[in-house]
């Protein structure tokens, strides 16, 4: 192992180092999509149970991030984007990150099972296990389809939120799961386009490294089209109303426009269109899930 098992004598790991290990930005997106799933679910939930469910989903997502950093410390150290994460920079030892991550993972699932319900706990456990074992330990290092299949872990939180309220797993929240699942490839391949050399140096078989940038640009557009079509499903299936339809139409057009710009971009050195798509994709997902939440708060009736 290339990393020190103990931290340096002049510094111990700070709270900020551990917070960084939880990938707070990813956590915020996970919580946001999970809350949308909770709000769409039929039935009522005690506010404190809802708070506990959101807390468990947030901690479970953070645990997944910590375990991802613990297992991927060798890759992170070789990439400019991730070399300053707590483990490669020597702030936290890999063994401490493992202990921290597994404690939070087991704790979040147990609390979800004890205080919310078993269906939500089982889905949370499945999500963490899929992210750690299927994506981090297997897919990421072995196939350019890594983020396509592995994206399921990041897509499941709306179903966890739904299960937390209803106590069961239904087909309806999987419409939201499908949107996040299809959204993940164009989002991460945009990043991989402008970080291609970074991934190549680390030996991670991302699509631009294995199949080239031209193929990646086409795949980005195909998945962006699929995402935007899936984005209309909540309105078409009676889960969302007019506000959502408007946001998904305008946001979808913006997202597609950014994906088309990536297809046409010839600036392989700076990849400005891919950088833009990365940001636009985040805003698109936030916008459509925010529309779902606002509609529920404002009691906007579904279209069908």
């Amino acid at each position: 192992m290339a990393f020190a098992e103990t931290t340096t004598s002049s510094r111990i790991a700070t709270i900020g180092d551990y917070v960084e290990l939880l990938k707070p930005r990813v956590m915020s997106l996970v919580v946001f999509t999970a809350v949308a799933g909770m709000m769409l679910a039929p039935g009522a939930i005690h506010p404190l149970v809802a708070f506990t469910a959101v807390l468990c989903i947030a901690i479970g997502a953070g645990a997944s991030g910590a375990l991802n950093m613990a297992y991927d410390a060798d890759i992170d150290a070789r990439m400019a984007r991730t070399a300053q994460r707590p483990i490669p920079r020597g702030a936290i030892s890999p063994s401490d990150a493992h202990a921290f991550g597994w404690t939070l993972a087991v704790g979040s699932v147990m609390v979800m099972g004890l205080f919310v319900n078993y269906a939500a706990a089982a889905l949370l456990a499945l999500t963490i296990a899929f992210y750690v074992f299927a994506y981090t330990l297997w897919l990421k290092r072995s196939t350019p389809q890594n983020i396509v299949i592995g994206g399921l872990a990041g897509a499941l939180p709306p179903a966890i939120g739904w299960a937390a309220v209803s106590g069961s797993v239904a087909l309806a929240p999987f419409v939201l799961v499908l949107i996040v699942f299809l959204w993940t490839p164009p989002h991460f391949w945009a990043l991989a386009l402008y970080r291609r050399d970074d991934y190549a140096r680390a030996g991670v078989p991302m699509l631009p490294v294995v199949s080239g940038k031209a193929t990646t640009r086409r795949q980005i557009l195909l998945y962006a089209i699929a995402t935007v079509i899936a984005g209309f499903l909540p309105a078409a299936l009676g889960l969302a109303g007019a506000l959502y339809l408007g946001v998904s139409a305008i946001g979808g057009a913006w997202f597609l426009n950014a994906a088309i710009a990536v297809l046409r971009d010839r600036d392989e050195k700076h990849e400005p269109a891919a950088r833009r798509l990365f940001g636009v994709s985040i805003l698109y997902l936030f916008a459509i899930f925010a529309a779902l939440i606002v509609e529920q708060l404002a009691h906007v009736p579904p279209l069908v």
Binding site: I12, H46, L48, F115
Partner: protein, 45 residues
């Protein structure tokens, strides 16, 4: 300076211990309140 280094480590350790203590205290309160919620409204009568 070794003394300053030890002071800094001590300060960081105290901050971390305080955060850990607050986190554990929060969990104790959360578990208590959630137990009351799950058991129902009349359990404290």
């Amino acid at each position: 300076m070794a003394g300053n280094g030890n002071d800094e480590i001590g300060r960081q350790r105290r901050k971390r211990n305080l955060a850990l203590g607050l986190g554990l205290g929060f969990l104790v309160v959360l578990f208590f309140v959630m137990t009351m919620v799950r058991l129902g409204g009349h359990v404290l009568d």
